[in-house]
Structure formats: structure tokens, C-alpha cells
Symmetry: C2
Subunit: 589 residues, 2 copies
């Protein structure tokens, strides 16, 4: 059974040394009173304990057992209920929540590191919490004061949990065509009817109530995405004093049998005139939901990093331990039957690829978290706005690039084990199965790529990208390691962007034809920025802790030598254009 140990030193490196979180918190009044560097470290250490000792041990058994479903009631695997109790009592659901309603008000850049640990320990368990936290965010941002006061404290405390009910059997990506209905009732509430599918945590036995955020149409709402409203629908009706009333007309029809995340209940939910409450403005539900979805997108991205980290830890330990064949340069462990496989170049290539992608992703996630904190807490409106632009630009990259490279990493981690990676015993195959969903849910990675290139780059006139480029160029003025290669990669991204913006004006398919490769090109350039920043710190501090910083410099060297060249093919593929995608008629596929 693999163990998971949160990479605390690496996390502190990113949080304190690369992005200087504590210094930023000190200058943002809302955070200054809440957190400092020491508090953050204490929280991460506590998080490492709870994820490593309480939650990770339930990962394999949860996968074997899966969720149960009988008489309309989901049961989570053995141990989940007890673990949830301890978890919620620690206040982890509300870690970054609004303190006015019982959240801990911690910065997002800290929360993303916690989330990474959580996903690394146990994806299925994490989801019950992640959906709740996102649900709170949407309620906090859009619901009335009375709904916020009634629901947020119990959600932050983990007594209740939240869900996100968007997808219907005929409507996944295309939410504009959903059919669920909301009929106004005399008391100002609504009767919600419809069927939702793929609802994570739609039912479970961890919490005494479940709060569904449901997209539905009001009577006479305009067709399409501008006729969708958002409703809060509790599993059990909540009385004004916060006590629980009758069961609402919400039921779980079935649970899906899936490739992975088997301990996460993926439910078909039926709403049969269930009582619901409008959240935000009528017909503005999609915009309100996007508050939650953007949160979840970053979170799900982090699932990719967490799984990759867990896979890396097992694979590196195995590679140091497993004896097989001799090093190409001659026997290293002469007293043993063979050398540990970590001597072999191709095993190192696999492990270093995982390291470079995972650590690059961790830095990038923390960076996006930092921008989220600035967007939320900065006193200067211009600073807030610039950070918000970066967040909007970088969120789809984070979601899709973390998870695409997360699958790549987990597949490599499995490959390091040879045949032992394919059997269940070592846990590597579960990570591949569990991470795979992250490329699909919360908007497929193809949709993220369209959002990035279509909305955040082309429709935006390239202004947000210019912000990032300007930041990178300013950073490069300090002559950090790999500045020249970073700038070269940035120019490749910019010239490809320019080419695409021109194409988009004359070819309606240009964006869709290029989007996934463009997102990857963007991701590799963003990671080059991260690795240059990390290498700069490692170089400056080298003498303080030579072995630690040496490892950072070695991984940076690998990234620039072996992974950044992937941008060459991506650019060439993109610039081949859309024509070859439309040469074949649909019926001849």
C-alpha cells in the first residue's frame, strides 16, 4: 500500500519563497488580521496529518468497495463517515470561506495547496468537500442575506454538503438547452422539477442535509442560456430557525458505475416539484453558477496535480528500490543482483517528466491562487481588475493543462512499475482511473480550450495575455535562469496568438481547430515562467540548503531541455490551420 506524505517543503518553497505569500497577506487588510506565514505553515502541517493519516488510508478500500445504493439511499464506503466527522470538525470545508458566516477566511493560495494534498490522498473523498466549498462560494456571492445566513454556516462546518446540478441527459456542454423547470409558489419560493445527471455527491450519508444548486427555467423564460435561473434546493427543507423540516421532493434515482472515483457518488437526481429558492437574479443563473464553476475548475485542475504527486511519490520510491538490469555506464550496486532501476535513463526521464510537470503545476496553481486573493482583497480597484483578468485567462489553462499533464504523469508513474503498475495492489492503476475524470468534468478540456482561445484571448483582443506577457518581460529584466528560453517561448506563444487572431477574423473554425493545442502551448509557456521563477529563487538561496535547491535547479534544467521543446510541434500543428479538419463529410467518419 503506498503512503502519501504531503510535500510540505516544496509547498513552503512555492508559498513563501517563490511567491512570498506572507508579505502579500500583510499588505491586504482583510488577510493581514487572519493569517501570517507561521499560521499558514501550521495549517499545512495539520493538513498533512489529516490527509496522510486519516484520508489517504481510505483511498484503496474506498475504490474496492465503492458506494452502495439501496432504497434510494447512497452509502459511502467504510470509514468515510468517521473521517468526514473529523475532517469537518477541523473546519477544512470552510478553510477559505467567508468568516462572516463561519468560514476561516484563509487565502486561496494556501487553500490550493491544501486541496492538492486532499486530492493526492483520496480523490473521491475530496469531491464531497470540493463541491461544498464551491457551492458556498456561489451562495455567498449571489444569494440573499437570509439564505446566506441560513445555509452558509452549516455548509462551512460540513454539517451539510453542497452539490452542483447542471447536466441533464440531453444537455451537458450545451447548458442552454436544459429543460428543468421552476414554478413560482405563493410564498416566494419555487417548485423545481426535472432530472439532473452526473451529480457528484447528489446523495450520501456523510451529512444530515444536502444543498443542491440547480439550474432551471422560469415560466416564460427566454430560450437558450439567457433563460436559465439558479435555485437552492435542500434535500430536507430548512425551517427559518435552522432546524430541519420535512423531506423535500428530491430523490436519487441511481448511481453511475464508473471507471474510477468509485467512492464518490455520481447520482441521477430527480426533482419532483421540490421547494427551491432563487439565487441571484432571474434568468441570470448561468452567470451565478459560473462563480461556482470557476472555483471548481481550478479545484479540479488541482486534482490533476494531486494525483500526479501521489503517483510520483510511489514511482520514485519503487524506482529506488526495484533492482533490474545494470546501468549503461556499468554496475552501480555491485553487491546486489542488479541495479535499482533509477539508474536507467528512461526511468529518470519518466520520473523527471512527472516532477517537472507536477512542481510546475503546483507553482502555477499557487500563482493563480495568489491572483484570486488579489482580485478579492486588494484595496486598489485597478489591481483587483488586473488580477481578475489574469484569473479569467489562467483558469481554463489550469483546469485543462493540470489534468492533461496529470494523466500523462499518472500513466508514466504506472509505467515505472512495469507489470506491477497494472495490478491493483500498488495503487498506481487507481490513480490513472481516478485522474482521468478530471479531463472530462467541470467542462471538458476541449471546452476549457475554447474558453481560453475564443473568449479569453481572441474576443478579449489579447489584452489579458498582454498583461501576463508584460509581467514575464518585467521578471526577465532581472536576468533569471533560462530568461532567454522563456522569452523565446513567450514570443512563440505571442506570434501564434497573433496568427490565430487574424485567422479567427476570416475562418469561423480557426478557434476550434487550434484550441486544444493552443492551450497546451500556453501551458508549457506558463510552466516555463514558473520554472524560471523557481530556478531564480533556488539559485539565490542555494547555499542555505544545497540539496533541496539543487533538485529544483536540476528539474528546471530538465524542463527547459526536454519538455519546453513540445511547443515547437504545437505551434506547427496550430498553424496548419483548420482545412484538414473539414475535408471529410460527417457521414464518412
Amino acid at each position: 500500500m503506498p503512503e502519501f506524505n504531503a510535500p510540505l517543503r516544496d509547498m513552503r518553497f512555492v508559498l513563501h519563497e517563490v511567491f512570498q505569500g506572507p508579505a502579500q497577506w500583510a499588505r491586504l487588510p482583510a488577510l493581514a488580521a487572519t493569517v501570517d506565514g507561521e499560521t499558514a505553515d501550521a495549517i499545512l502541517e495539520e493538513a498533512a496529518k489529516i490527509t496522510g493519516q486519516l484520508i489517504a488510508p481510505l483511498n484503496r478500500s474506498g475504490d474496492e468497495q465503492g458506494v452502495g445504493f439501496e432504497a434510494g439511499q447512497v452509502t459511502t464506503p467504510e470509514g468515510f463517515k468517521d473521517a468526514w466527522r473529523t475532517y469537518r470538525e477541523g473546519g477544512w470545508v470552510g478553510l477559505a470561506g467567508n468568516p462572516e458566516h463561519g468560514g476561516m477566511g484563509m487565502p486561496k493560495m494556501l487553500a490550493v495547496q491544501f486541496e492538492e494534498m486532499l486530492y493526492a490522498a483520496n480523490c473521491s473523498f475530496s469531491l464531497y468537500s470540493a463541491l461544498s466549498a464551491g457551492c458556498c462560494l456561489a451562495i455567498d456571492a449571489h444569494a440573499s442575506d437570509s439564505l446566506r445566513a441560513l445555509y452558509l454556516p452549516r455548509l462551512y462546518s460540513g454539517e451539510w454538503a453542497g452539490t452542483m446540478c447542471l447536466t441533464e441527459p440531453h444537455a451537458g456542454t450545451d447548458l442552454g438547452i436544459i429543460r428543468s423547470k421552476a414554478e413560482p409558489l405563493v410564498d416566494g419560493s419555487y417548485a423545481i422539477s426535472g432530472t439532473k445527471i452526473f451529480i457528484t455527491g447528489g446523495d450520501q450519508d456523510l451529512t444530515e442535509n444536502i444543498i443542491h444548486l440547480v439550474l432551471a427555467r422560469l415560466p416564460d423564460a427566454p430560450a437558450g442560456p439567457k433563460g436559465i435561473s439558479l435555485f437552492l434546493v435542500p434535500k430536507r427543507v430548512v425551517n427559518d430557525d435552522g432546524s430541519l423540516g420535512v423531506d423535500n421532493a428530491v430523490s436519487c434515482g441511481s448511481v453511475e458505475h464508473k471507471m474510477g472515483i468509485k467512492a464518490s457518488a455520481t447520482c441521477v437526481m430527480n426533482f419532483d416539484g421540490a421547494v427551491g429558492y432563487l439565487v441571484g437574479e432571474p434568468n441570470r443563473g448561468l452567470a451565478a453558477m459560473f462563480t461556482m464553476m470557476n472555483y471548481e475548475r481550478l479545484s479540479i485542475g488541482i486534482q490533476g496535480i494531486g494525483c500526479a504527486e501521489a503517483s510520483y511519490q510511489s514511482a520514485a520510491a519503487y524506482a529506488r528500490d526495484r533492482l533490474q538490469s545494470r546501468a549503461a555506464t556499468g554496475a552501480q550496486a555491485k553487491d546486489r543482483i542488479a541495479d535499482p532501476i533509477i539508474v536507467h535513463a528512461d526511468v529518470r526521464r519518466m520520473l523527471l517528466t512527472m516532477r517537472a510537470l507536477t512542481e510546475g503545476g503546483r507553482a502555477f496553481a499557487t500563482y493563480v491562487g495568489q491572483q484570486l486573493d488579489i482580485a478579492k482583497y486588494a484595496e486598489d480597484a485597478g489591481e483587483r481588475e488586473a488580477a481578475q483578468r489574469l484569473v479569467a485567462l489562467l483558469t481554463p489553462v489550469a483546469k485543462a493543462f493540470f489534468t492533461d499533464t496529470g494523466l500523462e504523469s499518472c500513466v508514466l508513474g504506472q509505467q515505472v512499475f512495469g507489470g506491477h503498475g497494472y495490478i491493483r495492489e500498488w495503487g498506481q492503476e487507481q490513480l490513472v482511473r481516478d485522474v482521468r475524470i478530471a479531463q472530462i468534468y467541470e467542462g471538458t478540456n476541449g471546452i476549457q480550450a475554447l474558453d481560453l482561445l475564443g473568449r479569453k484571448v481572441v474576443a478579449d483582443g489579447g489584452q489579458s495575455l498582454a498583461l501576463l506577457a508584460s509581467e514575464i518581460r518585467t521578471f526577465c529584466e532581472s536576468e533569471p535562469p533560462y530568461a532567454a528560453r522563456l522569452l523565446e517561448a513567450l514570443e512563440r506563444l505571442e506570434s501564434t496568438t497573433q496568427w490565430l487572431r487574424e485567422q479567427a477574423g476570416v475562418d469561423a473554425n480557426a478557434v476550434g481547430a487550434a484550441s486544444v493545442e493552443y492551450l497546451h502551448l500556453f501551458g508549457y509557456v506558463a510552466y516555463a515562467y514558473m520554472w524560471s521563477r523557481m530556478a531564480a529563487v533556488a539559485k539565490a538561496r542555494h547555499a542555505d540548503e544545497p540539496e533541496f535547491y539543487e533538485a529544483k535547479l536540476a528539474t528546471a534544467a530538465f524542463y527547459f531541455a526536454r519538455l519546453l521543446p513540445r511547443t515547437l510541434s504545437l505551434q506547427a500543428g496550430i498553424q496548419a490551420g483548420s482545412a484538414s479538419l473539414y475535408q471529410l463529410d460527417a457521414e464518412h467518419f
Copy 2:
């Protein structure tokens, strides 16, 4: 439930039109009497029926049920025994087997197409047959006349099945360190003792006997790979008259729980002084085993193509059917709620990537099959030798590139389905799980890459590659479509090869550092050759069947525009060298 329909028209295209199999058979005396184009087509049509109607329907239920194991006996899932009976009665196990002992003697280029159908229909079922066929090949090539006469007919007929017993708990890739022993007995047989793991079909309930080919050491054998011998060890002892005698001291200790191929029994096999018979020369067992392993490597490569084809068929059908959002160029299906997702550029990108890789792989597998036929049946020794060189060069490419791109294709096929791809119902997730093993077993793809670059290119002085390059250049003289891009890609492969051959002289890690990327570079160039050949035929015959050939031309256009550029990054990554792989000490991973 997805249906599988063997792509007969595409297979005929490759077999008859691109590689002119029947013309070749006519000029090889051993084949001329056995097969012609009509016979081949009839066989493929029959194969399409048995795989589509008999074997594919057991794929999902076999995965759900898995193999049973009780009291040392494996039971295959429901339906497997009946299907095996029909399958073996059709003579399919011995399709390309030696007619002297009951095989059908069909050409390999036909057999590879049959194997593709079989894997596409049901990977687990296929393995029981594939291991038997490979086992026969090794027995036919290396065993004594009496062993051949006694065992081959029942193996070809499928009354018995064969296995390959190599791996031990401490010895996978590194077979030189195996510990299983063979003690000579007075009657000339041997007592075999040891534990073997990951034995596909080590036990099953399909056949009345199981014939294990086992690697073991004779007393006083030299250490390492030159002290290994090959033994034939039946589950039940076979009397001289062919009747079955007592149970041999062979037992199945357990079966593995795996990510996929769940209906294939992966066994721990214990040999406790079991009676065995030497196959080939003492201490030359690895060489003899390689007869089987090379066969299995091509076969397992074809598993990658088969899974990709099955995934493609489902994904293309789903993409034509699923309605979601509108085309970027404006609504296409105005009377419906949304357009079929096949209108979207990114969906087309995924499907065309699958098509281009799968059809490129099918052509390449058939090409390798053709070379195998020439190597075996040509009258001219020089022709045989040249073909054998190509086979040796191309087999590792086939095994690893088919399966790496097979995983990529199945992941794309799953992605086309969105959330529906992650649940079991649609079968796409099973294909991802089933195809994943093919990158691992029969020598991991990393080992294939070392074999290619280290042995077949560098140690070979580049002579075999020069043979292939010369063939490609000769072909290009006919000015086929994409000749210029094919030659450019070939030159990229050649210059990278030249650079690596120089590096290998001064850097012992050069080969291992580059091998996987080199194999991929080789694979993309090989597929460019295949696509140029296919496009040449499609262009010439366009008027005969415009829709069919148009699809070939469109897919070729996509391959050259969007996939071949991957060679740019591969070259750049390779030429970054090995240094960055060894900057980090083993203990700091």
C-alpha cells in the same frame, strides 16, 4: 452496448490495393498453393462474423464478471467456453500455423488483420489464442520432431492452449536473473521448479490441457542470460500416444486483480518438480523464447490498433448522433435542438487523430506482416535476409508505437463521449483500461525503444534503417502525394539517427536518454510512409469509388498537416541530450 464491425473494406484496401498481397503470394511457392485473394477475402469475412457476432458480445460481460479462482482452478466468464469451442473449431488458432502439423499456413499479412479484429472485439478472449499461436511458433522453430508432432496439432486445433512463463517476482525486464531450476531426470526429461508471475492464461477452463513454455536454469548453467534454457511443461502429462496422463506438478497459486483485461487470467504459477522437456539447445533458451516474444510483440502491438478501432467506431457513431451546441459557422441541423457534435472542429480533431493513427497502424502492421512472409517464404536468400532485417527493425516500433498511440486514441475516443465516456455503460472506459496493458507487457515500451535504438539502429550501424530509407526514396521517385514531406521527415529521422550514433560513441547514456522519443520519431516517419502509399493508391483509383478514396485522402491530409509535425519536438527533445537526466542524484528523487 457498442457494436463492433470489422473494417473489411479498409482491410481489403490495405491488403489488396496498397500492398498487393495476392500478387506476392502468387510468387511465393509455399503460399501460392494455399491462398489467393478470394480465399483471403472469404477468411476475413468469416473472421468478421465470428469476432462481431460471437466474441465481441462477451467483451463487456467478461469485464464485469472477470475470471473466477477457487481451489486452484480458474474459471473464465460466462460464455467464454462455448465461444472458444466455436472459435477453435473454425481453426483460427492455427490460422498462420505450420500445415505439416495441422496449421492453416495462411500468410502473416492476413493473420495480422484477423488479429486486429480479434483484439477489437475482446482483448481478454484474444489473449488465450494469441499466446497459443506464439507458443506454437517457438515449438515449431526449436523443439524436437517428436515434441512438434505430439504437441502442435492439439495446440493449432485449440484443444490445448499455450503460455509463456518468463517473469519471476524479482525478474521482469531482467530475465538474466531468473531462478527457476531444471534438474535432469533419467529418462531425458527435466524436473522444473520455480515460481512464475503474470502468466497470461496460466490456468483456464477452456482447454483440456495447457502447455507452458518455461525459462529455467540447468544445474551449473552460467550466470546471466547465457545460462537460461527453455522447457515445455504440460499441465497434464501427455503420453506418447497423445492421450492425457497424470496431472503434472504445476499449479496456479493465485490470479491478479488488474486494471483491465479482467476476463484474461493473469496467474501466479508454481512449478514443483514438474516434468518438462528441453526445447532447443541447453542455455540457448532466451534465443528460442524470442521466436515467441517477437511474434507476441507484433501481436500485442496489434492490440493497440484493435482497441483504437473499436473506440473509434463507437466515438464516431456517438459524434454523429449526440446533439450539443451549434457549429461555429452557424446552425447545421436547424430543425433540431442542437447540431451533432461532429460539426465541432475539436471533435473532428479527436476523431481524425484516431483515424489517422489507426489506419496508419493497420497499414504498418500489414506491411510488417508482409515482410514476415517474405522472410519466411521467399526463395531468394538475400530477399529473405533483407526482409528479416526490416522485421527486426520494425517489430519494436510496431509493438510500442501501436500501443502508445492506441492509448492516445482510446483516451480521445472516451473524451468524445464527455461524461458518458467515464461510465461503464458505453464501453469506452473499458477500452482505455484494456489497451493500457499493451504498453507494459511483452517488454515495456521503454524496452522496445532500447531494442530499437540500441540494437537495431546503433549496434547495427544503421544498416537496417538504410534499407528502409532506400525503399522510401525509391517509392518517392514515383512522385506520390506528400513525397516532399515524407522525404523531409525521413531526413529528420536520418539526421537525428546520425547525431545519436555519434553521441552513443561518447556517452553511454545517450541511447537510454533518447530511446522512447526516437521510437516515436521513427513511428511518425513510418506512418508518413504508409499514408503516402495509401494516398497514392487513393488518388489513382479515385474515380472507382470516390467516397471511399476521398476519405483516405482527407485522412492523409490531416496526418501530414496535424500529426507529422510532432516530429519537430521529438527531434529537439532528443538532441537536448542526456545531461539533464543525470543532474539529480538518485536519493533526491
